[in-house]
């Protein structure tokens, strides 16, 4: 890790590869679900990347790593409970609002051209950050991690932006809140 802090990419890759099995097993034990465990492992990798400067070589590495993993599991469980209530409504909202437009006017390179005029107008009224998050995740189909890397924010922050965007869209399109 000390070498990775200095920018040694090979050492960093070795470190991330080495910690993967332990993280997977830790997350599976806590969550009992392979898919959820893999999500958490990815969150941990991102948190390790973001917090890599907080590791101090005179302190043991494992407690630092597993503190990040424990926090990621707590955050994941909270987010899962919240999302279970919201995901159905979000999908319903976006599927019904993404009615196909006239194919003659659709731009193959612009994902927004697939949106119904109603949703396009509502999206235009959102703050830039929220609009970007909704478009990247639900229209372009990027993963949260890809979208977060592109927006240069943490996955958690991107999820919050997207969630606020859905809530605002729901209000703009006259749908009831969950």
């Amino acid at each position: 890790m000390a070498a990775a802090q200095e920018g040694d990419k090979a050492a960093y890759e070795r470190l991330l590869e080495d910690i993967l099995p332990a993280l997977r097993s830790f997350a599976r034990r806590r969550l009992g679900d392979d898919v959820a465990a893999e999500d958490v492992v990815q969150e941990v990798l991102l948190s390790v990347h973001r917090a890599r400067q907080t590791y101090r070589p005179e302190r043991p590495f494992e407690p630092w790593l597993f503190a990040i993993a424990r926090n990621a599991i707590i955050d994941f469980q909270r987010a899962r409970t919240r999302r279970q209530r919201e995901v159905v409504l979000e999908d319903d909202l976006l599927q019904s609002a993404c009615a196909p437009t006239d194919p003659a006017h659709a731009d193959a390179h612009d994902p927004r051209s697939e949106l119904s005029p109603l949703l396009g107008e509502a999206l235009a009224k959102l703050p830039e950050a929220q609009r970007e998050a909704v478009l990247m995740i639900h229209v372009e189909g990027l993963s949260v991690i890809e979208a977060a890397l592109r927006a240069r924010v943490s996955p958690g922050a991107l999820r919050v932006r997207a969630h606020r965007g859905y809530r605002a869209l729901r209000a703009l399109l006259g749908r009831p809140a969950p």
Binding site: E38, L46, H49, A51, T54, Y55, R59, E146
Partner: protein, 222 residues
């Protein structure tokens, strides 16, 4: 939502790797923040003048030393909690700091009010004005410490930056309120509690957002 394979994520992270300056030791950062807090308190006391009966009041064993001890605990505990929260493996220090800070505030407000039966002996615009003046002074004195705390926080990686910023603002205002407590001429227990001991809560409410914004800005720069 789709997910990238973990292996691909590892590749992305390795590609994104840049050298990062290691965060200084927690005790070093804490020493800097507490040292700055001590300097602010000493500077304000030197500028405004220590109230002449301070030693008598401190020895009295009544509400004055209780409020002073509570504010000191809130300042020390809050500073430790805010800085420790920016390091994943120091959550125990963060919890102990929070406990110490919350205990300090409880001591300075609740226990002081309960034990010494503080009730306002007067009411009206003048009382409110003097309470507001002390509380606002405490918050103003906390500004340089809040900026320093935001900078120190930005060198780490806080999990919940908003909460951490609120704790840092609370600790900074506790230092400011401590300076006000030693220089304010009031003899009213009610004034000490509302204008001095509760000032950190007001400071946390007002300064949390700017501290968070500053920390985030500096964190992105590094």
């Amino acid at each position: 939502m789709k997910r990238v394979p973990t292996q691909e994520l590892v590749t992305l992270l390795v590609r994104d790797l840049e050298p990062r300056r290691r965060v200084p030791r927690l005790r070093a950062q804490l020493a800097v923040l507490l040292g700055a807090g001590g300097l602010v308190v000493l500077g304000i006391v030197a500028y405004r003048g220590l109230r002449p009966d301070t030693l008598d009041l401190l020895r009295s064993g009544e509400a004055f030393p209780l409020v002073a001890a509570g504010l000191l605990a809130a300042a020390l505990g809050g500073s430790a909690a805010a800085l420790a929260s920016t390091r994943p493996d120091r959550h125990r220090v963060a919890q102990a700091g929070l406990l110490c800070g919350a205990g300090g505030l409880a001591l300075a407000t609740g226990i002081a009010a309960l034990c010494f039966g503080a009730v306002p002996s007067a009411s009206g615009a003048e009382v409110v004005h003097s309470a507001l003046a002390c509380a606002v002074s405490g918050i103003l004195f906390a500004l340089p410490l809040s900026i320093l705390a935001a900078f120190l926080m930005s060198t780490g990686a806080a999990r919940q930056l908003g909460r951490t910023a609120a704790v840092a603002a609370l600790a900074a205002t506790a230092f400011g309120a401590l300076a006000v407590h030693f220089t304010c001429p009031s003899l009213e227990v009610w004034h000490w509690i509302t204008a001095h001991a509760l000032a950190p809560v007001l400071g946390a409410l007002l300064l949390a957002a700017p501290v968070r914004a500053l920390a985030l800005r500096w964190e992105r720069r590094t």
